[in-house]
Subunit: 241 residues, 2 copies
Amino acid sequence: MRYGGLMTGRTPAAAAGADSAAPGSRARPGARGRIDKRQAILTTAFVVFAREGYAQATLDAIAAEARVAKHTIYNHFGDKQTLLRAAIAAEADRAMARNLAAVDRLRDHDGDLRAALEDVGRQLVECFCDERAWALRRLLYAEIAQFPDLLDIVSGRATDPVTEALADRLARLSLAGHLRAGDPAAAAEQLAALLTGSLEARCRYGTRVIPAAEQHAVARAAVDTFLHVFGTGSAETAAPA
Amino acid sequence: MRYGGLMTGRTPAAAAGADSAAPGSRARPGARGRIDKRQAILTTAFVVFAREGYAQATLDAIAAEARVAKHTIYNHFGDKQTLLRAAIAAEADRAMARNLAAVDRLRDHDGDLRAALEDVGRQLVECFCDERAWALRRLLYAEIAQFPDLLDIVSGRATDPVTEALADRLARLSLAGHLRAGDPAAAAEQLAALLTGSLEARCRYGTRVIPAAEQHAVARAAVDTFLHVFGTGSAETAAPA
DNA sequence: ATCCGTCTGCACTGGTTGGTGCAGTTAACC
DNA sequence: GGTTAACTGCACCAACCAGTGCAGACGGAT
């Protein structure tokens, strides 16, 4: 039922709308306009929805910004609500994939656990602070009351897949003796909470951009605290702050 | 510049609109209708804005639900935007006061530090999970892009006053030897992050209500981790989970 | 050459809504 | 009793917008 399945690996094409070329003058000549248009509509719709809000955003504006006739939008999605759901699903897929890829870097753990955790922490922090991620979160918070089914579209499961994947990796590390034994789900939740909680407080609803140095400091502090509690005392537990 | 200053300690009166009484039949006979109406408009406006979203919410609906003529709203606030700002400011004052009161319970700390921290943690969790608090957060996330000045209305300062107050209390505890010495601001941030981060993940954008037992578990886990890192090892550090 | 699906530009409508104007009512206050 | 200020009910306007209809253009497939 997910819409993201239709996202083939095409280039987003008319994202920023720089070229004023007529339709059909793409670099890829063999491509029919269909997928291109659909992608352009989806990305543009997400941008406009996030910028103006669902109710304020007009289909005329989306059509103009995507360099597409309003009718084309109705041909593809038929409905403003359907367009919103599809745009959010596509963006959520992007964000989810990036987060899972970050967590997956714990798989090739070659010795220095603290360094590996800090690396993953920095990656996750970067995902969290991404402008598009904030736009997605704002949009979800805004419209979740109107469209409760957005929850299923964006994650589906009851538990956050990212935290779950993190718990998987922590479980392997525990089994290998690199972390204290215990509930890996609880450990993953606390590590994630340390990261996202601090960032949420510092980002001020996404209006403030956090410099890279501060992002790294947050990740390091989170990993410090995490290893204090869940680490085995083998040479990586330094004093906090 | 805050609007909350006008909030005298009146009863919200027509919040849920149960009585169908004619105007003027209040219990307090000496009161002019002015403050009553203003309060009713503010609370109702917040409820409707949170339920429908700013753009979707109509002034006719707010007027009807507050049992007030639409003209009265314009008399008081003159503008839909001004009404939104005033309603959010009033609700933010409420929430902030509750949070600060919770943190202030650390002031009369009589011996059992873990119990005191867990008490405060439970209070803060309860504040965070409150339905109105979620409504306020959703509304802020939704409209912060349209009205960036809502940030100043809701907190004003650069750092969150609640975390700052918590840092104050933790500093006193450190000075008294009950906590490890270190940056109290960092400690407060991590404790707050452990609480809010976990809750944010579990609440699913405010659509899920967390039972009291689960709330207490979150608070206990957060305090456990916190004391592992920042506590002096005097008899209160148990193994996590 | 022909067919057919996609895309385009434009005009149109039906409904909604922020905001205003006005006449009339109530109630506190002097 | 008279003044004044808040409140009410209703009608009204102008703007905005989702969604539709239509006629025509482009381009690939056969």
